[in-house]
């Protein structure tokens, strides 16, 4: 139990640091009224908006009221369209979740089987081919892959739409773009994890009991090998959110990423702040869940954490 509490405490500290960091970075980087209001507006109007948005208070008072508001679930008002910032962001979540979820599914469906094949037929031509493809896959910048896909499938063959999110056809290219790099990474992690497991004594036992290759791999090796792969997946969620910004921009996919680039361009402080907090929270939560699942699956982790503490 102490182990779970320690993890929770650590996650809370991280979250607190993120909230503080976000606040100071955004507040110290310029006066939003200079950007949002027209140039010719008079000083009185400027002061009025500063007071309205709470920008005239001392920094540290702004900080405490910011924390207080956050604890009450109040993320502020979007400067640009005067509605609840959280609502603006929340409306975009399903689109990004759809894109990210599909990309993860693609990455798992392609990456895991390839990694297993490469490990089972280690050092064969199959292994070398799969690993070479993997190196190509994760070296490919996804904005470049996206542009190549648009060139081929939208402009040359004219079979897929290059932007928007209306139909299932719109999802194919962005999800493939976002998923490719992750499929490659998962293939690599699966391979090394499988190779590790395949050399374990219990695999020899399974073999001596007369279990066939398929059964040994699917029943004995894969469940054990997939634990570290799931861990990696949790850690990579944050990286994926970063790439999603680029992918959404390339394909004009109306998710969080596109909202972020436009909010950043118009200095919509509350929206940017809300996105950053939400993403950081997602990452901390994902890491938490992975830690807990990992500790639950592997008791050694729990004992290790207690010994450290």
């Amino acid at each position: 139990m102490t182990w779970i509490l320690l993890k929770l405490l650590r996650a809370l500290v991280t979250m607190g640091l993120v909230l503080t960091f976000v606040f100071f970075v955004l507040r110290l980087s310029g006066d939003p009224t200079l950007v949002l209001l027209p140039d010719d507006v008079d000083q009185a109007t400027r002061e009025f908006y500063r007071a309205k948005w709470g920008l005239d208070a001392p920094l540290w008072e702004q900080y405490t009221s910011y924390l207080r508001a956050l604890l009450q679930g109040d993320f502020g008002i979007s400067f640009r369209n005067n509605i609840d910032a959280f609502q603006v962001v929340w409306d975009r979540v399903p689109k990004t979740a759809l894109l990210g979820g599909t990309a993860i599914a693609i990455a798992l469906l392609i990456g895991m089987p390839l990694g297993v094949l490469a490990a089972v037929y280690r050092d064969s031509w199959l292994d070398r081919t799969v690993m070479s493809i993997a190196v190509f896959g994760f070296s490919m910048p996804n904005f470049f892959l996206g542009i190549l896909l648009i060139l081929i499938f939208s402009l040359k063959l004219r079979v897929l739409p290059s932007s928007g999110s209306g139909t299932w056809a719109h999802l194919i290219m962005p999800a493939a773009t976002l998923g490719t790099g992750f499929a490659a990474q998962i293939a690599r992690y699966t391979r090394s994890s499988m190779i590790d497991v395949l050399s374990k004594p219990y695999m020899r036992t399974a073999r001596s009991k007369g279990a066939g290759l398929t059964r040994r791999v699917s029943q004995h090796a894969l469940p054990n090998a997939s634990v570290p792969v799931v861990t990696i997946l949790g850690i990579k969620v944050g990286e994926m959110l970063g790439w999603a910004v680029v992918t959404e921009t390339v394909f004009a996919w109306p998710g969080i990423g596109r909202l972020l680039t436009s909010a950043v361009a118009s200095r919509d402080l509350a929206v940017v702040q809300c996105i950053m907090i939400l993403l950081a929270f997602t990452m901390v939560a994902a890491n938490m869940v992975v830690d807990l699942v990992y500790g639950w699956l592997d008791p050694r982790v729990r004992v290790g954490a207690r010994a450290q503490a």
Binding site: V22, L26, M140, P141, F143, I147, V245, L260
Partner: protein
């Protein structure tokens, strides 16, 4: 040098050549490409046929050489303002390489120093540094970088600082672990027993012994740093005109995909080949320098 050493020299050179010829083809090609990129980084201004920002409105959007309408005056064609694409590519590659090298080195130095500090001081220092590592790892750094750049404006110093902060935590974590285990090994204990100061033990004895995994980490981080820079510049938040970088060129070329696909594809290809070469080299080095990582 004594006379005895002399005959050994040709033999040693031969060994070098033999090692080179035994390299896998992919690794040789990757190393060759990285050398070419380094050459461009140093000599871009010397080999460029035109100034990278020289506008020639009479020769706009000429295609690269194998295509119809191309001229050898502009082997890779020109962009929307008639600027020579080859010259721009050289300067862009130089900017991207310099930024990535600088960013990687800053991150490595900072991370390694903090890793040593955490291992050496222990206690509260260790806790605080590791909390910072957790914090850095938990933040969507790309997204924070995006916000900082947009709000702080177009400043080279800010951009370099952000690049330097990217990835430092991986070095810190690895260094700390390596130092903690190296400190208890025979050689470190022996040197300490002889009365060496901590600084001497760390810099002259432990650092050379743990350099292998750190160099491997450096080669793993470098392609990521290139992607980090090019992605930000691609979104229009990193390197901005009048300067140019590979990501900035690609972002600009994206608007002309229908008429002039090469404006985006050529810089994209250079980015891809650079990260690919570095990954191939990194994989190879990992096997060579750090057998414990290879499973």
């Amino acid at each position: 040098m004594s006379a005895l050493d002399r005959p050994a020299l040709p033999a040693r050179r031969w060994v070098w050549l033999a090692t080179l010829s035994r390299l896998p083809v992919m690794v040789s090609v990757a190393a060759g490409f990285m050398l070419l990129m380094l050459f461009v980084t140093v000599f871009a201004q010397v080999i460029q046929p035109y100034a990278f920002d020289h506008v020639d409105l009479m020769n706009r959007m000429t295609p690269p050489v194998p295509l119809a309408g191309a001229t050898w005056a502009h082997p890779m064609g020109t962009d929307t303002l008639g600027r020579d694409l080859f010259s721009r590519l050289l300067v862009a590659a130089q900017t991207s390489m310099l930024l990535s090298i600088l960013g990687t080195c800053l991150g490595a130095v900072m991370g390694i120093a903090l890793g040593f500090l955490a291992a050496h001081k222990g206690g509260l220092w260790d806790e605080v540094i590791m909390a910072l590592v957790d914090f850095q790892a938990a933040m969507p750094w790309f997204i924070i970088a995006l916000a900082i750049l947009a709000f702080m404006g177009n400043s080279m110093a800010v951009f370099i600082a952000i690049m330097g902060l990217y990835g430092w935590e991986t070095y810190a974590r690895i260094t700390r672990g390596l130092v903690l285990s190296a400190r208890e090994q025979g050689y470190a204990l022996a040197v300490r027993g002889l009365g060496a100061k901590p600084r001497r033990v760390y810099l002259h004895h432990i650092l050379p012994n743990i350099a292998g995994p750190l160099i491997v980490q450096l080669t793993i981080n470098f392609p990521n740093t290139i992607l980090f820079e090019t992605s930000l510049s691609f979104l229009g938040l990193g390197i901005r005109p009048p300067m140019t970088s590979l990501g900035q060129m690609l972002g600009e070329g994206r608007d002309y995909l229908i008429n002039a696909w090469w404006l985006a594809v050529i810089p994209g290809l250079v980015i891809f080949l650079t990260t690919l070469s570095m990954s191939v080299l990194g994989d190879w080095l990992r096997v060579k320098l750090d057998p414990s990582l290879e499973t």
